[in-house]
């Protein structure tokens, strides 16, 4: 198997404080990985590093030839202006940016794809609704429809099922499984360990330092989870410089 993403002694953080500390490892092409760990463990930070929003303090993230547009990223708190007058259809169609770009037209074939994506997330009939009128779960479905159209080889989902009911989460999880079946690489930050055990073959347990990374059953042991929970959440203002 080829690696899709390589972490080499990676340290990411804010204001000189590390939020991800000395991470090594490789994400294989086509892997389906759950990234778990307590709040403040560095999950979002790691994702921001992968998509290039955050530059590493030290070490390296090797994307093995992936270009920025081959990566689809669903942030935890998307900076979406829900009051903006735009329809569900147009919002989803933005996922076609890679083909259409700034000026490219959207033809019959693309319109079919947009409609297929909207129907795949169960929002048929909502096409012309303004995004401001959607519920939280419906909005998440819209964002997943947009991800579908992005046709990315690496998909990064930051807590995609938070504050979402079980039905919606199950529907969206089906899409994640579909991406996995299509050989796309998927990384998802999650808190529901039962969902992780049932659906994700590989797990990275993070608590600023990587606690364990491997098969779900071997990583999610009581000892590992306890170790992760003990991680001190707050930054230590008196912390000395890291020697490693």
């Amino acid at each position: 198997m080829n690696a899709q993403v390589q972490f080499r002694n990676l340290t990411l953080g804010y204001d000189r404080h590390p939020a991800v500390h000395h991470l090594d490892g490789a994400v294989e092409c086509g892997a389906l990985i759950a990234v778990v760990g307590p709040n403040g463990a560095g999950k979002s930070t790691l994702f921001k590093g992968i998509v290039g929003v955050l530059k590493p303090f030290s070490g390296k993230i090797d994307l093995c030839g992936l270009r920025a547009r081959d990566i689809a990223y669903l942030p935890q708190q998307a900076e979406i202006d829900r009051t903006f007058p735009i329809s569900v259809y147009d919002m989803v169609a933005m996922g076609l940016w890679r083909q259409a770009g700034l000026f490219g037209g959207i033809g019959r074939k693309e319109r079919d794809r947009v409609e297929a994506a909207i129907s795949a997330v169960g929002l048929t009939g909502f096409e012309q609704r303004p995004i401001g009128s959607l519920s939280g779960g419906q909005m998440q479905r819209v964002l997943f429809a947009r991800l579908l159209l992005q046709d990315a080889s690496l998909i990064v989902l930051d807590e995609p099922f938070n504050a979402i009911d079980t039905k919606t989460a199950a529907d969206l999880l089906d899409l994640v499984r579909r991406w996995h079946a299509e050989q796309r690489t998927v990384l998802a930050a999650l808190h529901d360990l039962d969902m992780v055990r049932a659906n994700f073959p590989e797990v990275l347990l993070l608590a600023r330092e990587p606690v364990a990374w491997g098969q779900a059953g071997e990583v999610l042991t009581p000892e590992n989870l306890l170790k992760a929970r003990r991680m001190c959440e707050a930054f230590d203002d008196q912390a000395a410089e890291c020697a490693a």
Partner: protein
């Protein structure tokens, strides 16, 4: 008074009114869409600040060349762009937010501008700067205002997709394209350009009026951005037409009359608008079944 005498005769009889009408129409076409985007990006007051920022530049042009269209336009454009960029830099590099840094810049700009104009010119000049003179648009100025409107519409069409995306979901735009930064700057340039156009007709203090009032009013009539822009342009054009008539028949100064009509359109929209207007909210209607 016959409808013809009331509504059409003034424009048929007086050339300066026809010119004013054409000028107002061009302003509405260019400034309306820009205003809608400013409003949707919660930058309405920024338009106001930018309008003031133009003043010292135009005043410097005036200082060197008198009431020369080219010098004042160039000065205004440069000053406006410099303030927009400086405010952006201060906001990005310090803790101050963009609105606060703009407020700081525009207060200083206004003071500098008024000082410069007063030092060289008369009070009439100052009034011209602050309130413009829509009834004295010469060929050159009309051409300039029309050119600005044309350029705005063409540019908006070109940057439409990334501009909308920048407003709705800037994070997503960053992830798929690097167009966000340049598009923001082009948009700021459009704002400044339209304000300079408005400045010649309506003066510093009112230039923003035809930009923001129709946009704010349009929000109450449309749920879709394209329609919202069409409504804003229509309200702007109607304000120009009705304002000039009001001014002609009642003797109110023309610039303020146009803005007053636009203000009335805004007030009417807040009250009666079909999308979230007060009256609609106030009338209790039975809820639906599903």
């Amino acid at each position: 008074m016959s409808p013809y005498a009331l509504l059409i005769a003034p424009f048929a009889d007086y050339e300066f009114l026809r010119r004013a009408l054409v000028g107002a129409l061009a302003l509405a076409l260019g400034a309306g869409p820009v205003g809608v985007f400013l409003m949707l990006r919660r930058m309405s007051l920024m338009g106001d600040a930018m309008a003031h920022a133009i003043l010292p530049g135009a005043a410097v042009g005036f200082l060197f060349a008198g009431l020369n269209l080219f010098a004042m336009t160039a000065g205004g454009l440069i000053a406006g762009l410099v303030v927009a960029l400086l405010a952006g830099i201060v906001a990005r590099t310090t803790e101050l937010k963009e609105d606060a840094s703009l407020a700081a810049f525009f207060l200083v700009s206004l003071a500098v501008g008024v000082t410069i104009v007063s030092a060289r010119g008369t009070n009439i000049d100052l009034l011209h700067f602050l309130f413009g003179n829509v009834l004295a648009l010469d060929d050159q100025t009309l051409l300039l205002v029309a050119a600005i409107a044309t350029l705005s519409l063409v540019t908006l069409a070109l940057i439409w997709r990334p501009l909308v995306l920048e407003c709705v979901d800037p994070g997503f735009l960053r992830s798929v394209s690097r167009a966000g930064g340049p598009v923001h700057i082009v948009f700021l340039a459009l704002v400044v350009m339209n304000l300079v156009g408005g400045f010649h007709a309506l003066g510093t203090l009112l230039a923003v009026g035809l930009m923001m009032l129709p946009a704010a009013a349009a929000r109450f009539w449309a749920r879709d951005i394209t329609l919202m822009i069409a409504v804003a342009v229509a309200i702007g054009i109607l304000s120009g037409y009705c304002g000039l008539l009001l001014s002609f028949h009642s003797g109110v100064p023309a610039g303020p009359a146009i803005i007053l009509v636009a203000g009335a359109a805004y007030a009417g929209s807040v009250l009666l608008g079909s999308v979230g207007g007060l009256l609609r909210r106030g009338i209790p209607r039975r809820h639906l079944e599903a």
